[in-house]
Amino acid sequence: MNRAVLIGLILIALIVAGLGYYWYSSGKTGPNNATASRKVLVYAYEDSITGIDPSIEFDTGLVVLGLVYEPLIYYNPLQDKFIPALATSWEANENHTVWTFHLRRDAKFHDGTPVTSQAVKFSIMRALEYYEKTGEGPGYIWEDLVRIETPNNYTVRFIMDKPMRVDFLVSASYGSYIYSPRVLEESGVKSPLDEELLKWFNQGHEDGSGPYMIESYNPESMVKLVKFRDWWGWKIYDINKAPDVLIIKIVTDDVSQENGLIAGQIDIATTVPLQDISKLLKKGFSVLNTTTYHNYVLMFNTRRYPTNITEFRLAVAHAIPWDRVYREALLGYGRIDNSLIPYGFPGHLDNYTFTYNLTLAREYLEKAGLLGKDLRVEIMYEGTYSQEALFAQILKGSLAQLGITVELKPASWDQMAETGPTVWDNPDQAPHMIINDWWPTLPSPYDFLYSLLHSDSKEWNWAGYNNTLFNNLIDKAWDLEGSNYEEAMKLYVKAQNIVYEEAPAIGLWDEIKPYVYNPRHVAISGEAFNPLYMYVLFIGHLEVKG
C-alpha cells in the first residue's frame, strides 16, 4: 500500500471517529444539552394544514389557529363550563337577543396593540360576510346576527334576530377567532373580503392574541411557533413551563410518528400504530387517552332498494357484532356509540344501542319479506382509515350469515364527498351504505343532527333522508336554544327517537385519541386537550422539562 492511500485511510478514519464521538457525546437522540437555553416542544400532527385564515379556515388549520388566536370564551362540554379568554364576563338580556361581552384590558395582539371591541366586530363580521359572499368558511354560525355594537373599546354587544345562545357561538371551534384589524394594513388590502387577505394569511402571516406567534409556516411539513411573551395568560399559567418554541411537525404516517418518538425527534405524537402503544409504554413513553367529538356514522341510502326499507336497516343494525368491532377494528381506542351525537356532547343519549342479535335481525328481514332473497349491497368507506376498512370487513362477514352479500368500496375522502350527495339526484348510483365522520363546530346537537340528516343539508346528508317531522323538531329546537334550552333539548331527544326507530343512520363509534408522549420531555394534564377544539394544545396545561 503506498503512502498516499495510507494517509487517505487515516484521514477518513479520523473523520469517522470524530463524527462518531460527536454523536456519541451528544446522546443517542441528539444533542439535548444544547437546548438548555430554549425549551422546544415538537408536536407531531397527522395531517397537513389546509389553511390558517382565522375567519375562513374550516378544517385541519385548527391545530395552528388554536395556539395563535383566541375566541372570547372557550367552552368545555365535558364539564359544561365556560372558560374566559378574551372576555372576562358576559350577560344576555331577558329574551337572549342581546349579548354583551366585557373584554379583558390586558390582552394584546402580536403587533402590540390592545384587543378591542372594534377588533372583535371586524373579525366576526369578516367571517359572516365572507360566508355570505362565497358560502365558504364557518361564518354560517353567525347567520342570525343583526349587528355588532361597540359602545366602548372593551365592551362588545351582539344583537341577534332571535333568542340565541351566543355564548356557544363565540366559543365555537371555528369562525370566532379574533385578530387585529391592522391585518388590512399589513397585507396591503383595503377590504376585509379581498381574496389577497386570505392569501396573506395562508402564506403564514397572522396578527392574533394567542400564546404563540407564527415564525415560519410550511403547511406540508412544519409550522414553527414562538412564545408571545405579552400574552395575558402568562399571569395565570407559568410562562417558564411553556415551550419557547413549539414545532407542529406534519407527519402523516403513523409508523413515522412512532419512529420520530423513538428517535427523540417528536415529543407528542397524535397517531402511532395502535397495536404498538403497549410496546411504547414499555419503552417509557406515556399515553393520554382523550375523548373526542369525532364520530363515525353509518348512513343508509334511504332512496335505494333494499336500504330504503326500515326493517332492512334495523336488521343490519342488529347484525353488527359490536364487541368484535371494538376489539378488532378499534383495538380498544374508540367508544361504541349508536347515538348520532358523541358521548359527552350536549344532546348525547346513552340508551340508544343496537344490540348484536342475529335472530332479531332475521325477524326484521322476515317482516319485510326479505329473508332468503338474494340481497346485494355496497358499502363505501375511506380506504386509508384502517378502522373503517376493518369495520366494513366485519360487517361483510356478519351480513353474509343473513344471506346478504356486501361489496366493499374503499374510496378517498373527496371521492366520498363527491359520491355521498348523489343520493339526492341519482340514488341508484349512490352506495347503499356509506361511512360518514363528523366533528362539531358548535356545541349544539343541531350541529350533528342538521348536518347529517336534515333534508336541507344536501352536501352531508348522505342518507338522502327527508323526514319533515324530524326537520321541524330540530329546527324548532335550534330556535328555542336561546330562550328555553331545556325544552330545546327535549325536542332534540324526540328527533333522535325518530332516528332510532327509522335508522336512516346509526352511530358506530366515537374516536378516542391516544396522544403518546415522551414524559422525559413533557408533562401533560388532561386539560391540555378540549374535545371541542380538536388537536389544539392548551398550553397552560403542559410543562416542558428543561
Binding site: 460527536y22 454523536w23 358560502g135 402523516t252
Partner: protein, 342 residues
C-alpha cells in the same frame, strides 16, 4: 463548439412538447379519477350555503369550463410561470415544490457522489482482477445493489442502525439542535446552509442524518458504476493503444488512469448521467422511509387528494429534471469526446 444551435433548438422544442404531453396526460388522468377537488378547496363547507360554496370552488378552480379549455388554460399558466395554487395547502405550487426539491436534491447529490465514486473505483479494481473470486464477488454485489428495492433496503438499514446504535437518522436535522444554534435555512440545502452560517454542529448533524438514506440511494449508481466501469475498463485494456503503452513500458498507474480510464469517461458520463436522473425516484422513496421532507414525502401525502395543480406540478418537476439531466449528460459527453457532435 461541440453543441450546435440546431441541437439546442431541437432539444428545447422536444422538451416543451414532452412537458405539454405530461400536462395533458396528467390532467386527463386526474380529471377521470374519482374525487372532486372542489370539496377540499371549499374546506368541508357546512350550513345551508354549502352547495353554493362547492359551486364557487369549482368556478375558482376553473372546473366549470370544458376539459380542453381547462387544459389549455393550465398549459398557458405554466408557461407564464404560474403553476397555480395547491388545493390542499393553499400556497403557490412552485413554492411548495421548491421546498421539497432542495431537500430531495441534497440527498440525491450526496448519494450520487458516494455511489459513483465508489462504484467506478470498485469497477476498475474488478476489471484489473478479472475472473478472480474478488471480481465475481463484486459482480454479484453490483447486480444485487442495482436491483434491490430501495425501500426494502432502507427499512433494513433503519432496523440495523436502531438495533446496533439506537440511531435511526430520522428527519433532516435535529429540530432542537437547529433551534438552539439559531440555524436558519438559506438555500434549503442544509449542508450548504450550515456551512455558510458556520454552524458546525448542525452541519455534522445534517451529515449524519443524510448518510444512512444516502447510502441506500447510492446503491443503484454504485452497482451500475461497478458493472459499467468494469466492462468498459476491461474492454479498453484490450485496445491496441493500451497494449502499446504497456509494451512501451509506461507505468501501470499511468496506463490505467491516463489511457484506459480516460477512454471510458464519455460512455460512463452518459450512463451514469442517466443513473443520476433515475436515482431521483429512489431518493423520493427512501426519504419517506427515513421521515425526511422532500418531493417523495410530498407526493406520498398528496396522492389521492385530488390536488391536481400540485400533482401536475410534481410531474412537471420530475420530467424537467429528467430532461435537464439527460441534456447535460449529452452535452458533457460531447465536450469530453471529440467524436461526438450534437
Amino acid at each position: 463548439m461541440p453543441v450546435s444551435l440546431n441541437y439546442v433548438v431541437k432539444r428545447t422544442v422536444w422538451a416543451l412538447l414532452v412537458i405539454i404531453g405530461v400536462i395533458v396526460f396528467s390532467y386527463i388522468f386526474l380529471y377521470l379519477a374519482p374525487g372532486d377537488p372542489a370539496y377540499i378547496w371549499a374546506g368541508r363547507p357546512r350550513g345551508v350555503n354549502a352547495t353554493i360554496a362547492i359551486m364557487n370552488a369549482r368556478r375558482e378552480l376553473g372546473l366549470d369550463k370544458p376539459l380542453p379549455v381547462q387544459i389549455l388554460l393550465f398549459i398557458k399558466n405554466v408557461f407564464t410561470g404560474n403553476m397555480g395554487v395547491s388545493i390542499e395547502y393553499k400556497q403557490p405550487v412552485s413554492v411548495i415544490i421548491w421546498r421539497g426539491l432542495t431537500a430531495t436534491l441534497e440527498l440525491l447529490i450526496i448519494a450520487y457522489l458516494i455511489g459513483v465514486s465508489l462504484g467506478v473505483l470498485l469497477g476498475i479494481y474488478s476489471a484489473l482482477k478479472r475472473n478472480t473470486r474478488l471480481d465475481h464477488g463484486l459482480q454479484v454485489l453490483a447486480i444485487t445493489l442495482a436491483n434491490a428495492p430501495s425501500f426494502w433496503l432502507a427499512i433494513g438499514l433503519i432496523v440495523a442502525l436502531a438495533y446496533l446504535t439506537g440511531f435511526t437518522g430520522y428527519g433532516r436535522v435535529d429540530t432542537r439542535l437547529a433551534i438552539a444554534t439559531g440555524f436558519r435555512p438559506i438555500t434549503g440545502f442544509y449542508l450548504l446552509d450550515s456551512l455558510i452560517e458556520g454552524n458546525i454542529p448542525v452541519f455534522i448533524d445534517v451529515l449524519l442524518r443524510i448518510l444512512p438514506p444516502a447510502i441506500i440511494v447510492a446503491t443503484y449508481p454504485l452497482g451500475l458504476g461497478i458493472r459499467m466501469a468494469r466492462a468498459l475498463i476491461a474492454e479498453t485494456l484490450g485496445e491496441e493503444y493500451v497494449k502499446a503503452a504497456i509494451a512501451w513500458g509506461v507505468k501501470r498507474r499511468t496506463v490505467i488512469w491516463r489511457y484506459a480510464f480516460k477512454g471510458t469517461i464519455p460512455s460512463l458520463t452518459q450512463v451514469l448521467g442517466l443513473a443520476f436522473a433515475y436515482s431521483l425516484v429512489d431518493a423520493m422513496i427512501v426519504e419517506i422511509v427515513f421521515g425526511r421532507e422532500g418531493l417523495g414525502s410530498l407526493a406520498y401525502h398528496i396522492i389521492g387528494k385530488s390536488d391536481f395543480p400540485l400533482v401536475i406540478g410534481l410531474m412537471i418537476t420530475v420530467t424537467a429534471f429528467y430532461i435537464i439531466v439527460n441534456t447535460l449528460a449529452d452535452i458533457l459527453q460531447a465536450m469530453i469526446d471529440p467524436r461526438v457532435r450534437l
